[in-house]
């Protein structure tokens, strides 16, 4: 109905066209066929001058074509598509050149932590315990397991596996769409593997001609900026630094943040995050021992190699009321320019605005829901920021802190503490039975998905939001 009033197409676009697909006749309009884009086969067919009274013959399966024609007409995949596998539909859409249409119609809606459910679980065929993984914006994921990297594309189908020379991959990062940077705690060096060619393309080691002790340095964390890769290295005697590697030639261009590693506050950063908006690198390290957690957060300017801001816990500066409540994990929200920390004793989540960092920038988010009793001390916790939401895993449970929509006339001032405290609401993403599957080791968002790996559990979980109610018939 709506289309009728808005369509101001030329007469030729409204022209009807008959198609004969595998012996079955279809009739549609040129504009429908052309909605697949100028590069599609269907567009090419629509350009044929219709002097020939016989319809265009396409030697393909008519049933799949009728599904794809419905997709072009309505931009929805009809329920009849369920008769075909994802792969069949993808192949056929690729043949007609309308794969982008199919992807748009089958993609999950924007990921919302307050309304997410376990959609799938992907498990590599062999040595399925993931040591690390890296998600892409398309919703694809690379899983590192037992020295191999298995790739899963945006439909979560296996796209290939690379066997690396490492025995165990502990960190993995996407450098280019096809190139992964990997590091291991058991083997030295930062290594680059090309996924499509399934081969090793380069290595970077930390060496110092003036200091023979710098030897066999392992990679602890990797992050990538637009042109470079940052990796934190540490030697067996704990001396550590960060190397900046040029993405185009895979050569070291910069070395900074070198420290001795003899104390908690100069350990190697176990987590690195590049903040493109401000051009700073956020690094953090946390150790947990019998006397609680200790660690630091540091922001470097890689150009000068200087520390822009840092905080150490315990000690450092902070509220006396929070003394002894040092953080168990820290994460940077790249888009929101926020830092989040999870307190080890109280289990509270605190937020700091990276634009207004000062002595004690932390704002402790309030738990307003009386039924969500504070979890208190947690041994294993993970914090991950994705699309303005903060995901917190405590042991096996997964929760999300999301911003409440404000009324337009309420001015959002992040400097004003009492205001900011109330912006976030805490909700559980999972159900109680989900948390029994194991301790969460890593969370990462990619595309409209959240990937979760658990300790001693094969494969990784994929959480998605859905518009479908998922009604279960109990008749």
């Amino acid at each position: 109905m709506e289309e009728e009033s808005t369509s101001v197409e030329s007469n030729t676009a409204n022209e009807r066209i008959k198609l004969n697909v595998g012996g079955k006749y279809f009739e549609t309009t040129l504009s429908t066929l052309r909605s697949g884009g100028p590069d599609s086969l269907l567009f090419a067919l629509s350009n044929r001058r219709s002097t020939d009274p016989n319809p265009v013959f396409i030697d393909r399966d008519p049933e799949i074509f009728s599904v794809l024609l419905s997709l072009l007409r309505t931009s929805h995949l009809p329920s009849t598509a369920r008769r075909f596998s994802k792969q069949e539909l993808a192949d056929e859409a690729l043949f007609y050149g309308i794969d982008a249409h199919l992807r748009a119609a089958t993609a999950p809606p924007p990921f919302s932590g307050i309304d997410a459910a376990l959609a799938a679980s992907i498990r590599p065929a062999s040595e399925g315990l993931p040591s690390s993984f890296a998600a892409a914006d398309s919703g694809a994921v690379w899983i590192a397991h037992g020295g191999q990297i298995s790739g899963y594309d945006s439909t979560l189908t296996h796209s290939g596996t690379v066997r690396t020379h490492l025995d165990e991959i502990d960190s993995i990062c996407r450098v280019w769409p096809e190139i992964a940077a990997i590091g291991s705690m058991s083997d030295p060096g930062l290594h680059f593997y090309n996924f499509s060619g399934s081969r090793h393309v380069g290595s970077v080691h930390w060496t110092d001609p003036l200091d023979p002790r710098i030897f066999k340095a392992h990679v602890n964390a990797i992050t990538a900026s637009e042109n470079t890769v940052f990796a934190s290295f540490d030697c067996p005697h704990r001396e550590n630094c960060i190397l900046e590697v040029d993405k185009s030639n895979l050569r070291t261009v910069n070395q900074f943040a070198r420290q001795s590693g003899n104390q908690a506050k100069n350990m190697v950063p176990a987590k690195l995050t590049w903040i493109p908006a401000t051009g700073v690198l956020v690094g953090s390290a946390v150790t947990g021992g019998a006397f609680g957690f200790s660690g630091y957060v540091r922001l470097w300017d890689p150009r000068s190699g200087e520390v822009v801001w840092e905080t150490n816990e315990p000690g450092g500066s902070g509220r006396s009321s929070r003394f002894g409540d040092s953080f168990a994990d820290v994460e940077a929200d790249v888009e929101g320019l926020l830092l989040f920390k999870l307190c080890s004793k109280s289990g509270d989540l605190a937020m700091a605005d990276m634009r207004f960092l000062k002595d004690d920038p932390w704002i402790y988010l309030k738990e307003k829901n009386a039924s969500l009793v504070s979890c208190g001390e947690v041994r294993n916790s993970v914090v991950h920021c994705y699309r303005g939401q903060v995901f917190v895993a405590r042991e096996g449970g997964l929760e999300v802190w999301s911003m409440v929509e404000q009324r337009e006339n309420v001015v959002v001032r992040s400097e004003n503490e009492s205001d900011a405290e109330g912006f976030y609401r805490r909700n559980f993403v999972d159900k109680r039975e989900d948390s029994d599957r194991g301790i969460i080791k890593k969370i990462e968002g990619g595309g409209d998905r959240l990937f979760v790996s658990r300790e001693d559990v094969e494969g990784i979980e994929v959480w998605e939001s859905s518009r479908f109610s998922g009604a279960i018939s109990v008749l």
């Binding site: 109905m1 289309e3 009728e4 369509s7 197409e9 676009a13 409204n14 022209e15 009807r16 008959k18 006749y25 279809f26 009739e27 549609t28 309009t29 504009s31 429908t32 909605s35 009728s66 024609l69 419905s70 007409r73 309505t74 929805h76 009809p78 329920s79 009849t80 919302s112 307050i114 309304d115 997410a116 459910a117 307003k368 829901n369 009386a370 039924s371 999301s402 409440v404 929509e405 009324r407 337009e408 609401r425 909700n427 559980f428 993403v429 999972d430 159900k431 109680r432 859905s466 518009r467 479908f468 109610s469 998922g470 009604a471 279960i472 018939s473 109990v474 008749l475």
Partner: protein, 458 residues
């Protein structure tokens, strides 16, 4: 994509004929102008009917789906072969042709509610760990809004699609559907009634009651008639309460009824209304509230004339106070479940007087002298001629048996709803009706149970 384009004249029908041909995706359908215009004026089909002449209109849509919707136009019902398709496909297609209301009418219509034929048919799962705290169903089409924790999840009338928004509340206690995308939500521990736009999760408006102490005003209950919305507010200091009447469409305050300020030990006026129900047939508002004190539960039920702001009738509950009250308009009866006895009782509204008393439908001995609280948490709702009363995990269906002769007393009989395997289960916490469906939620279960008539399955 153009919905239709002309083509050369077909061999038949003649231009003056009543028969209309339509070419849908290469397949020609023939129907009459009457059938097409039954979709309603100014719809896609009525325009085809008007414009039909020498050209056969071409519609670039799926012919199979069209044949189903044409049957819907002809008979008002979907043919059984439609079961091969997903309802979602049919909804998309019916939206394209602008006849979604016909589809809703054929599948989810309040007149199709068959109380004696309801059975548990679907479970709607809710994400996260919060159990539902309030339900609001759209009476006309059966779209459902569920509040769980700080979230509200909305299901469309077909219960196939959902969307979730985050609210400012920690838990929503009262919820009312204003339109498919607009709800009014309030809580016992949160000041103000929020009008939430569910499409973007924004608060469109906050309605507050200006009380004397200038403290916040919490929402205790929401009710609605076809024109007004009624909201029972209590001040945060719990020393005053009131029922505000708003215009349902503009949401502007119209009047205030039942304003109580508490001075001294007047316990009765300290009880805010926790249930509001509009009685269409009498033009009265039923407001009930109860309060648990050291001497047991006491409460009151009042019938308000909204225009004059006067109480028409009221009953004070001291012995076996209600756990829940509901008015059955067609039967002219007020029903309650006693909090102590757990038994249903009624008052006939046709001859209300100050001496009107409850007629117990169960074991009368339980009403007096019962220290137990067998009826606590019971819910009672009316729909049409029937009264639905929950007791623990079960739903009782009360209906009136009309006997010839009629000498005085009215006869109400109950039935336990559901098949053997549907009975029992966790305690029912919410009960709501919408379209031809009954919705209920149970304690500690993150899902909504849907009860539908067995003959109305899609």
């Amino acid at each position: 994509m153009p919905p239709f384009a002309g083509s050369e004249p077909a061999g038949f029908p003649k231009p003056d004929s009543n028969i209309v041909s339509i070419d849908v995706g290469g397949q020609v359908f023939q129907t009459t102008k009457q059938t097409l215009t039954s979709a309603g004026p100014k719809t896609f089909f009525s325009r085809i009917a008007e414009s039909s002449g020498i050209y056969t209109p071409f519609i670039d849509r799926d012919p199979e789906m069209f044949s189903l919707l044409l049957s819907l136009l002809r008979t008002g019902n979907l043919p059984s072969k439609a079961k091969a398709f997903d309802l979602q496909d049919l909804i998309i297609e019916s939206k394209f042709y602008g006849i979604e209301t016909l589809l809703i009418n054929s599948l989810s219509n309040p007149s199709q509610l068959e109380p004696f034929n309801l059975q548990k048919s679907l479970l709607l799962p809710l994400n996260g760990r919060d159990s539902p705290s309030a339900l609001a169903a759209d009476a006309a089409c059966g779209a459902l809004h569920v509040a769980h924790g700080s979230k509200i999840t909305s299901f469309d009338w077909s219960l196939r699609r959902k969307a979730t928004v985050l609210t400012h509340f920690t838990a929503v206690d009262s919820l009312l559907a204003l339109s498919p995308t607009l709800v009014a939500a309030g809580a016992n521990d949160f000041s103000g009634l929020q009008i939430l736009d569910l499409e973007n999760g924004r608060v469109r408006e906050t309605l507050n009651w200006e009380n004397v102490t200038k403290s916040g005003s919490t929402v205790q209950a929401i009710g609605a008639s076809s024109e007004n919305m009624f909201v029972s507010f209590e001040s945060s200091r719990r020393n005053s309460n009131s029922i505000m009447v708003y215009d349902l469409h503009s949401l502007t305050p119209i009047t205030e009824i039942g304003h109580n300020e508490i001075f001294g030990a007047d316990i009765d006026s300290a009880i805010p209304a926790t249930k509001l129900q509009w009685i269409e047939g009498y033009n009265l508002l039923m407001a009930s509230g109860s309060h648990s004190g050291p001497s047991g539960v006491s409460g009151n039920i009042r019938l308000w004339d909204v225009r004059s702001g006067n109480v028409v009738w009221e009953i004070s509950e001291k012995v076996d106070c209600f756990a829940d009250v509901a008015v059955c308009d067609p039967l002219s009866v007020i029903f309650k479940v006693g909090v102590n006895s757990g038994e249903a009782s009624y008052v006939d509204m046709r001859n209300l007087s100050t001496e009107s008393a409850w007629v117990c439908l169960g074991d009368k001995r339980k009403v007096t002298n019962n220290g137990k609280k067998e009826g606590i948490g019971c819910k009672i709702e009316t729909q049409g001629n029937q009264v639905f009363c929950t007791k623990g995990g079960d739903v009782e269906l009360w209906s009136e048996v009309v006997m010839g002769g009629g000498n005085g007393g009215r006869i109400f009989k109950k039935n336990l709803m559901g098949r053997m395997r549907d009975m029992g289960g966790a305690k029912i916490t919410n009960l709501a009706f919408g379209g031809s469906t009954m919705f209920l939620t149970r304690k500690d279960q993150q899902c909504v149970e849907v009860w539908q008539s067995s003959s109305r399955e899609f």
